[in-house]
């Protein structure tokens, strides 16, 4: 068995790995693939071609082993025991928080709150920051390419408070119209919630610029980074986001764990989300006092194994080097876009100026579900449907698309297999 391409086990600062990666040999995708046990299998007798990475990514062995190791040798509850295992589990959990902090270049680990995923993080902000600051007649601004998870929590809040949800429109390529975005930033806008990368179209929003525009109007910004973190360098000091959220499972970590980053001064001022153990300093029947951040927002026993697995995933990605991964994926996306452009009746949906990881398409009158079933028979996994982005589909006047989405372990040969599969779809429906 080859040693893992991304090696570090615990502890060492991320910057050291990034430097090591920068000086390393060219990106060796075959070796990277050997780090992912699931990729070695066959589906319907064909080698698995996994192109559903925007739904969830596969896990490298280092992540699976970190979780197993925790349960086999380190399991205990955290922040309460004085015994060895509890102290050790607490250390590992907090080391994972530190890894996330370094990965996002946040100022302090206390700005990193562990949640179940991006969805819970957005709900947390809507229900705490939102509920305490947004009132009748106020506005929440989102964009036309948001995932349902960055629409519905704000809709619920607006319905409760009598506030209005405003939407910055997109053009036919899937780019947000920045002039409209600027015009919608008004005196009643209390928060803007923007996706960094669109899951349905692959559009990379110019979030740094949009945050600047919002801050000029004193509007704080939440960025949904679920589709960005696996593909781009994400630096809080550079972006200036007030809140940034992502899910562990889309960035090679386990399901059930995600991150809310928030600026400390905002988090400090926010009311807690859920009540329970760990989020308090003292409790009497008359009154409780709340713990400091981040613990104020982490009621109950957290997903300790999940946090440790996420830490391992981010160290793995950093060791490979996010810039090298981004370049590899960029080349894949260009190759795929070019390859499918030769297929008659195939139309790519989403042609933004800058894209990451996603190729959404429709094929004549063939429904995406039928495309998905036929590709599956060739061992090719793609996503078909509305991708939890029904307003985006409506904007393009379609019910659904077929979506291939790429990760650091995908190859050109897999894209060739995709193209052959689409040609087979055309033959079935000819």
């Amino acid at each position: 068995m080859m040693p893992a391409a991304g090696v570090p086990r615990t502890g060492a600062p991320l910057a050291a790995h990034a430097e090591a990666a920068a000086g390393a040999a060219p990106y060796d995708v075959i070796r990277v693939r050997s780090d992912f046990p699931i990729l070695q299998q066959k589906v319907h007798g064909k080698p698995l071609v996994y192109l559903d990475n925007a739904a969830t990514s596969q896990k490298p062995r280092v992540v699976i082993e970190a979780i197993s190791r925790y349960y086999e040798t380190g399991n205990a509850n955290i922040h309460r025991g004085v015994h060895y295992l509890s102290e050790h589990a607490t250390e590992e959990h907090e080391a994972a928080r530190k890894t996330v902090q370094q990965f996002l270049n946040a100022r302090s680990p206390s700005e990193i709150i562990f949640v179940r995923g991006a969805t819970e993080a957005i709900n947390l902000v809507a229900q705490t920051y939102g509920r305490s600051r947004i009132g009748w007649g106020d506005e929440v601004l989102i964009t036309g390419i948001e995932h349902h998870s960055n629409i519905v929590p704000w809709q619920m809040l607006c319905a409760e408070k009598g506030a209005a949800l405003r939407v910055a429109p997109i053009d036919d390529n899937g780019d947000v119209l920045l002039d409209d975005f600027a015009a919608l930033l008004g005196p009643r806008t209390k928060i803007a919630a923007l996706t960094h990368v669109s899951n349905a179209l692959g559009t990379v929003n110019p979030v740094r610029k949009m945050i600047e525009m919002a801050h000029q109007r004193n509007v704080p910004v939440l960025v949904d980074g679920a589709q960005a973190v696996p593909h781009l360098r994400v630096d809080m000091q550079n972006l200036g986001a007030d809140f940034y959220v992502f899910s562990g499972h889309k960035v090679y970590g386990p399901t059930g764990i995600g991150v809310l980053y928030g600026k400390a001064e905002l988090l400090d001022a926010m009311p807690p989300y859920q009540g329970g153990g760990d989020m308090i300093l003292s409790v009497t029947f008359e009154k409780s006092t709340y713990n400091k951040i981040p613990y104020k927002f982490e009621a109950g026993t957290p997903d300790i194994a999940g946090a440790i697995g996420l830490g391992a995933a981010l160290r793995y990605l950093s060791a490979l080097g996010i810039e090298r991964v981004a370049e590899h994926e960029h080349q894949l996306l260009e190759y795929a876009t070019q390859s499918v452009s030769a297929i008659p009746e195939l139309r790519v949906v989403g042609k933004a100026r800058e894209k990451a990881g996603v190729l959404s398409f429709v094929l004549g009158s063939v429904h995406p579900h039928d495309i998905g079933t036929i590709l599956d028979q060739d061992g090719i996994a793609i996503r078909t449907g509305h991708h939890c982005s029904q307003p985006v589909m409506r904007r393009f006047n379609i019910a659904a698309t077929a979506r291939a989405s790429f990760a650091l372990y995908n190859t050109r040969e897999e894209i060739d297999a995709l193209v052959r599969g689409i040609e087979r779809v055309r033959r079935v429906f000819s």
Binding site: H367, T373, Q377, G385, M393, V428, F429
Partner: protein, 149 residues
């Protein structure tokens, strides 16, 4: 390996390209909507009842080849059937596409038997049954079909 040709039979592909009874029905005395939230497929089924019998039936909407062909062929076989006959056909059709086997006394499915290949593709069962669930809702006098999990 399950064979794609079992799923995408000629007659299914043909119905998906040229669905029958594919129009609104002005003056329908019953209609219901069916949505598959998983994929966004959506159909409306219209009925014109005469006493207990389905005198006319049509549908409209959008979806995949399986759901559209299933809706099209359903409308063909149901014209003139009573409510009870329609519900029994739905039950038999459901058994067919979920691979549960048919009643011993023999099925009345006729040409609907081309959908037997669906049982090899569990992810597509809801596609095949969406129109039938919608029909069921219309017969019950409900506006929206309730799809099982």
């Amino acid at each position: 390996m399950s064979d794609l040709r079992d799923l995408y039979q000629e007659v299914i592909l043909e119905h998906s390209k040229a669905p029958r009874n594919f129009h609104e029905m002005p003056g329908a005395d019953r209609k219901a909507d069916g949505d598959n939230p998983l994929c966004g497929d959506h159909y409306t089924v219209y009925l014109h009842m005469e006493g207990d019998a389905i005198r006319d039936i049509s549908f409209q909407g959008a979806g995949c080849a399986i759901s559209k062909a299933s809706a099209s062929m359903m409308t063909q076989v149901l014209k003139g059937k009573t409510r009870a006959e329609a519900e029994r056909l739905f039950d038999e059709f459901h058994r067919l596409v979920t691979g549960q086997g048919l009643p011993a006394e023999g099925a009345d499915l006729g040409k609907l038997a081309v959908f037997s290949g669906v049982s090899e593709f569990p992810a597509r069962v809801k596609c095949a049954t969406l129109a039938w669930h919608t029909l069921h809702a219309a017969l019950q006098g409900e506006a929206e079909a309730a799809l099982p999990d």
